[in-house]
Symmetry: D2
Subunit: 432 residues, 4 copies
C-alpha cells in the first residue's frame, strides 16, 4: 500500500480524464486571479498561487513521469523551486521565500502545466505508466485537490491584508435564513467501533489507514455545527475574557494575538481609523460585525456555521457551552451515513447556512491529536513523507469545507492543523 | 471527586505525620543549596529553588488553611508572589520574572514554611480541617513531591550553566556494569483493557481518572529501557543528521538547537575553548563523551538508561531501530505488575543501570498526546486548574525517574511535557 | 526654505520638461520588469517596484496637485496605500505589508502615473502651481530620482533570492583592467571650512543646509576608493575573524549574520549543495568568488570598488589598513572640485573600475553620524518629515553610486543608512 | 598615553590609600544588600551586584597584578567568569548568563576582594608596580567607580520588578520645594572652542582626549535642567501621542514599549489590579504619579530634574518646547566653570531639586553621537577595548547623576548609552 492508495477505480472515468478534470479545476480557480495576485506569500504557512500551480505540476513530474523510462525534465531547476518539503528529493527553495520567485513567470508556469499535462496523457495513452505510477497519479490528483483548497485559503489570507477588500468572486446575499433551533443530540453508543479506511473503499490517504478497532466510551454528538449566532452569544458572555474557559496555551494565544472574535471579523467604525476611505462596507451600521470573505467584506450571517476559529477557541466555546469537542472516533462513528453537503462551488466559495445531519461547509475541530493509527508505517521513498512526518502537535479536523473539492469530504478523511491556526475554514460541532 | 482524590488513607500514618514527612524531604533536598543557589531562574519553564519552597507552602495555605474558619494569612503579599498559574486565585508575579524576587529572603521563606507547617498541624490536631480540606491536604503533599523533582531538574539546568561544573551531591562511580544484552520483547494482547486509576486505589490525580476501557491493537513492548550504549550507536549511525528518521518538527528542532547528542552531553576537548581552565573533567580522554549530572560532570555510562532526550529524539531513535514508541495504554497494560525501581535517593540523584521488567530511573516518552480520559471534567474552583488546562500539545511520559519521590512511580501516573523538552530526566522504551 | 529648496532653475528646461524627463526614466527602468517582478517586498526596508512607481506618483498628487484649487483625487484609496511614512498625511498601509498589495494592478498603477503626469502638466501649463508648489515639484523630482536608485537596490535584493540568478540587464564583461597602484593621499588642511549647501547653489535637500562653518582637524584622504582586490587581501588576512579589528556591535553583526565576505558574494562549489542544477555560473572555477549583480552572477573584478559592505565592515577594514574613515566634513572639503563619474547608466547598472580624484560608482561610508547641521529646523507640514525625523542612529554616506541618477552625485549630498545595511551600493575611501 | 591616563597625582593620597578608598565605597554600597539581592541579572545590559564586585576585582588582578613578576592567580577560573568584554583576554561567561552563577558564593567573592586588596597593597608597598601598572591602577579605580553607579542602576532595575517595592536606603521626604521659575538661557558664542581633556589635567578616559578645536555655531543653553513639573506639562499636552514631535525611531519605540511616562513612573490605582495587596504607596491619592526609587516607591516631586527618560523622549520634549538638545561641545563650552553638585551620597541615592548653573543630579542627553575625537587611536592591548569599540550608535550624555561617585562629574566626561535606554539616571537640558 502507498501514501495514497486505491485498488478499484474511483469512477468509470479513464485515468487521463480524471487527471485532466482535476487539472482543469485548478486552472478555473486560478483564472480569476491576476498575475499580481499569484505572486505574494502572505505568511510562512501560506504559499503563492503561482507556487501552488507549479508545485502540483512538479508533483506529477517527480512521482509519475519520473518513473517513465527515458523521461527527461525540460526544466530541472523547477525541481528545486517547487519541491515543498520532500527531503528525499533534495534541496529546495526555503519555504518562507516562496513569494520572492518572480521568474519563471506566471505564463511560463502555465506552459509548464500544459507541457506536463500533455506528457502525462501521452504516457498514459502509451501504457508507459506502471501500476505504482497509476497509484501515484491518483495520489497526485488528490494532492492537487488539497492544493485547490489551500490556494483559496491562502488567497483569502492575502486579500485580507488589502484595505480595499478585494472580491475573489462576487455573490448575491443569500435569502434571509431562519435561524436554526435548539441543538439536537445523537447518542454514540459505547463499544467497539471500526475506524478508518479500507483498501477496498476507493482512494484514501495513508493516514486514514489501516482500518482498526477503537473502543468508544459512549456519549452524544450534536446533529449540526455551531453557528455564527451562537458564537456571538459566547462573545457577549465574555468568552474572550474569561481565563477559566480556556486551555492554558489558548489563553496565552488570546493575549498574544488580541483575539476577540473569529478570524477575518471586524466591528465596523470602532477601530476604523486605520483604513482608506473606500474600504469599509457601505451601508453597514456602526458597531456591526463584518467578515472578510472571498466574496468581499460582508456582514456576518447568524445562520451560517462559525469559521476561522482556532482549536483553542473551539475548545473554549465547548467548555462555555457545558459540552466538549468530539473525538475523531466518535465523530466518524456518528456521522457515517450522514449527508455530505456544501463542497466547493467555485461560484460561491463560502459556506451555506448549517443543516442537520450533514458534514461539510466548515472543517470541524475534534478533541483528537493527530497521531498514527495502529499499524501505520511510514513508507520507503519520498512519497512516505506525505503525511506521516507531521504527526506531532497538530489537531484533527474532520469533514470538509466550502473550499473542499468534491469527493474529499468523506467520513474517514483526517485533516490537521496546529492549535492556533485560523486561516483554514475551521468551525466546530459539540459533543457531551 | 477532586483534582487529587483519595478515599482510603495511603498508609497508617496520621495526616500530620504524612504532611511533615513530605515537608521534611523538601527541606533535606534544599539543605545542600546555598542561599545563592536558590535565587536564579535559568529559563522560563524552570523556577528558583526558593520559589519552589515558597510556592508549595502557599499551596497549603491557599487550599487547606484558606478553608479553616478565622484563618488570616500573615503574609498577604505571598499570595501574589508564589501563586504559579491559578487564574481563579488572582493576579501573580509573571512567570519569567520569578528569578527577580530577592525579598522575601531565603531565611524568611524558611520561616514561612515553618509557620505554615505549625498552622496546618494545629488545624489538623484541632479537627479544623474538613473532609474536602483533607483531600486538598493530600493533593498538596503530592503537589509538593512533584515540586521536589522539579526543584532538582531546575537546579541541574541552572548548575549546567556554571562552567565550573558544581556538584549537588558527590557520589562514587558505580562498579563496572555488565552491558545489557539484546532487547527482549513482551507481547501486548489485542483487546479491551482497563486503563486509569480507580477512586478506591489510593491517591491519584484527576488526569489519571476515570478508569475506562481502551481497545489495544496488539503488539510487543521492550522489557527494558534504551541505554546510553545503544544511543551512541544511533549517533554513530548518523542519527542526528538523517532527516528521514525525524518528524518534520523534530528535524526543525535538530537544526534550530544544533542537537547532536542528549542534553547535558559534551565531547571533551573538541569544542573546549570557551571554558575556564578548571572546568573539564580531569582524567577524561580527548573525544570522550561526558554528561553534566547532579554529581558533577562525569563520563557517560553505557549501561545506564539514556536520558535528557526530547520526544522528537525518542521518536527518531525508535524509527531508526525499526520500532516505535508504545502508546500510554500499551505501556500501562504491559507494565502493570512490573517492579518499581530507582526512585529518588537523595544520596544519589542519578539513575542506575537499566534492569528488566521494571519502571523508574527515567521517564519514558510514549506515542500518546496528553488528552483527557473519557468522562474527565474540569472541576469547579482553583484546584480544577491543576492538570486539565494543560491538555494540548504535550506528550505523555510514563513511569518515573531517579528524581521522582517514592510513591509517585505508579502504573497509572501521567506525566507530560512539550515535545522539545529535554531538562526532565526523560528516556524511552521501544514497542513494535 | 523648504525640505528641498531651489531658488534658481537647475537648467534651461521648463518645469514640465524636467518633470517628464524624471518620470520617463522611472518608466524606462521599470520597463525591463515583468508584472511579477514588481510585486514582492523582499525585506521590510525594501519595497516592491510597483509601490515605488505608485508612491512617487502619489507624492506629486499629495504635495503638488493637492495645492491646486479644485483638484480632486480620482483614487482616494491610493493615499492610504502609497503614503510611505508621512504621519501628518494620515494612516497608511503598514510598511512590512507593501508586498501584499496586488490590487490595484501594475497596469492600473501605470494608468495612475499617466493620469497624474497629465494633471501636473496641465496645472503647470495653466499656471495653477504656486511658488511653493513649484518648490515641491522640484522636491518631487528629486524624490522620484532617489526612488529610482531604491527601486534598483530593492530589485537586486529581490532577484538575489532567486536561485536561477535573474539578469536585470545583460552586459558584456569589461576589458581587462589594470589593477590600480598604491593608494595616494591628499592632505586636508587644519582650519575652518564651509560645509553644506547654499540656497543659491541649485536644488539641495533640507539636510544639506544651512551652509555653516566646521573646524577640520587636518589629515589625509585617499584619492581613490578601496577595491575588490584590496578587500580580498583583508579577507585573506583573517579580516572577518579577528575581533580586535571590529567595533563591538560590528563583531556582534559578523557573528549574527555569518558575514565572511561582502553582500551578494559567494564562493563557488563550496557551499553549492543547496542550489538548483542550473544556478551556478558556468565556466566559473571551483573556489572562485562570484557576486550577484544586476547583470546576473559574475566573477568579482579586482579593479572595481568593493561594494555592499556595511559601515561595520568599512570601519574594520580601515582599522586593518592602519587608517580610518573620513568624516563627512573632511570628505566634502577634500572632494570639492573632483570629478563626478559613474552615475546611473541604465545599460550598465554596475560600477566601473575605480579612478583617481573622482566620486561616484559606490557610496562611501564616513565616520560621521547622521545629525542635523547647526540651524536645521524641521519644517511645518508633511514635507517636514522628509529627512529630519531619521536623524538618529544612522551613518552618513557621501558621493553616489552606479545606480544614482545623474545630478545627484554632488559634494554636499548626505545619504544615510543604519550601520549594518548592505543592500545599497556602499563602499569606502580611507583617511588617516 | 593610555585608555585612562594621568600624569600628576589626583591628590595627596598615596596610591594605596586612593585604591582602598574606592574599594571601601563599593563595599559600603554592597553592605545594604542581602546575599539574595546580589545574584539576579534583571536584563542583559544589567549585571548582578556580586558580578560587579568580582569583575572590578578581576580588573585589578588582570591589569595590575598581571604585571607583577611572579604573580599567580589563586582563582584562574575567575578570569573566565568575571571578564566583561575583553576579547584579547580570552573567552568568558556569556553576558546574558551572568545571573546564573551562584558559585563562587557571595562570601567567596568577598574573600577574593580582600585577597586582591592585600596583594595590590603589598605590591605597591614593595614597589613592584611599574609606571604603566600605576596608570592601570588609576584606570582600575575609575573603572570601579563607574561600576558603583552601574551597580546602583542595575539594582534599581532589579528591585523595580519586585511588587513589594523594596527600599535600598530609607530617606525622609525633602522639605517642600519652591518650584523653579522660568528657564534662563546663557549665550554660547560662535567661534572656535577647545574641547576635551588634556593629559596635564588629572585623570581622564581615552575617549575624552585629545583636546582639540571645534567650531561652535553659536546659540543659547538653559541654565538648569528640565524638571518633573515641566515633564508633566509635556505629558498633559499629549507629548506621548503626537508623532510629529518624535524622531521616527523614537515614535516606533513609544509604540513598541507603550511609553506614556518616564521610566519607573506609575499612575496609582488605575492599572493597579496586577499588584499584591501591600504594594501601592500608602496614603497616595488615586491617579497620582509615583516613581520607584532607591528609597522605595514615592510620589514624584515637581522641582526635581526629570530622569529615566530615553534620548528619544528627551529629543521629543525639546521639540515640543520649541528648543533642541545641546551638542556635547556647546555643553562643555557653556558649563565649564559651573558648579558640580549632587554627586553620589550613599545616604540618599536620589537627585535633589534642580539648581542654576550646576551640573550633576541627572545625566544630560546631548544631540551628539558617540564618536572618537580627532586623533583618537585605539590602544594596543586589552585596555584598548575600554571605550573605543563602543563608538557607534550610542548617544553622548554629559554631567553626572546622584549615583555618580564624587570626582566623576567633570566637564569633559563622556558617558554614552543607546537611544532607547532608560535605566540610567538620564535627564536633559535644553538649548536653542
Amino acid at each position: 500500500m502507498t501514501a495514497g492508495s486505491v485498488t478499484t477505480a474511483p469512477s468509470a472515468q479513464s485515468d487521463a480524464e480524471r487527471f485532466l478534470d482535476v487539472r482543469r479545476m485548478t486552472d478555473l480557480l486560478a483564472s480569476r486571479l491576476s498575475v499580481e495576485d499569484q505572486i505574494p506569500q502572505s505568511m510562512t504557512p501560506a504559499s503563492p498561487a503561482a507556487w501552488h500551480r507549479a508545485h502540483t505540476t512538479w508533483f506529477f513530474e517527480e512521482f509519475v513521469l519520473g518513473r517513465v523510462p527515458g523521461y527527461v525534465s525540460p526544466e530541472p531547476n523547477f525541481r528545486f523551486l517547487f519541491n515543498s518539503y520532500y527531503e528525499a528529493v533534495g534541496p529546495r527553495q526555503p519555504r518562507p521565500q516562496r513569494g520572492l520567485i518572480t521568474r519563471p513567470s506566471v505564463a511560463e508556469i502555465g506552459d509548464f502545466r500544459a507541457r506536463i499535462d500533455a506528457a502525462v496523457v501521452e504516457a498514459l495513452d502509451a501504457g508507459n505508466v506502471d501500476e505504482r505510477g497509476l497509484e501515484l497519479l491518483e495520489l497526485g490528483c488528490n494532492h492537487e485537490q488539497q492544493h485547490q483548497e489551500l490556494m483559496l485559503m491562502d488567497l483569502k489570507h492575502l486579500f485580507s491584508h488589502n484595505p480595499t477588500d478585494p472580491v475573489y468572486v462576487a455573490r448575491d446575499a443569500d435569502p434571509a435564513h431562519v435561524a436554526p433551533g435548539e441543538m439536537d443530540w445523537l447518542a454514540v453508543v459505547e463499544g467497539v467501533a471500526q475506524i478508518g479506511a479500507d483498501s477496498g473503499d476507493g482512494f484514501s490517504y495513508d493516514n486514514e489507514r489501516p482500518r482498526h478497532r477503537v473502543w468508544l466510551p459512549g456519549g452524544e454528538i450534536a446533529t449540526r455545527q455551531v453557528t455564527v449566532g451562537e458564537w456571538k452569544q459566547f462573545m457577549a458572555d465574555g468568552g474572550y475574557s474569561r481565563p477559566e474557559l480556556w486551555l492554558s496555551d489558548g489563553w496565552a494565544a488570546v493575549q498574544a494575538f488580541d483575539w476577540d472574535a473569529p478570524g477575518y471579523w471586524r466591528r465596523e467604525n470602532e477601530d476604523g481609523e486605520d483604513r482608506p476611505p473606500g474600504a469599509a462596507g457601505a451601508g453597514v451600521e456602526d458597531g456591526e460585525w463584518t467578515a472578510f470573505t472571498l466574496n468581499g467584506r460582508r456582514p456576518v450571517v447568524d445562520a451560517e456555521p462559525v469559521m476561522h476559529v482556532s482549536f483553542y477557541e473551539a475548545d473554549a466555546y465547548a467548555r462555555w457551552a457545558g459540552a466538549r469537542l468530539p473525538t475523531e472516533f466518535e465523530w466518524e462513528a456518528a456521522t457515517t451515513g450522514w449527508d455530505v453537503r456544501d463542497e466547493l462551488d467555485p461560484a460561491r466559495c463560502h459556506p451555506r447556512a448549517v443543516s442537520e445531519r450533514a458534514i461539510g461547509g466548515v472543517w470541524e475541530w475534534t478533541a483528537s491529536a493527530y497521531l498514527p493509527y495502529p499499524g501505520f508505517v511510514t513508507e520507503e521513498g519520498a512519497a512516505g513523507e506525505y503525511n506521516g512526518k507531521f504527526m506531532s502537535d497538530q489537531h484533527i479536523l474532520r469533514g470538509g469545507s466550502a473550499l473542499t473539492p468534491a469527493g474529499h469530504t468523506r467520513h474517514t478523511y483526517r485533516n490537521f492543523f496546529p492549535a492556533a491556526s485560523r486561516w483554514a475554514a475551521t468551525g466546530l460541532r459539540l459533543a457531551r
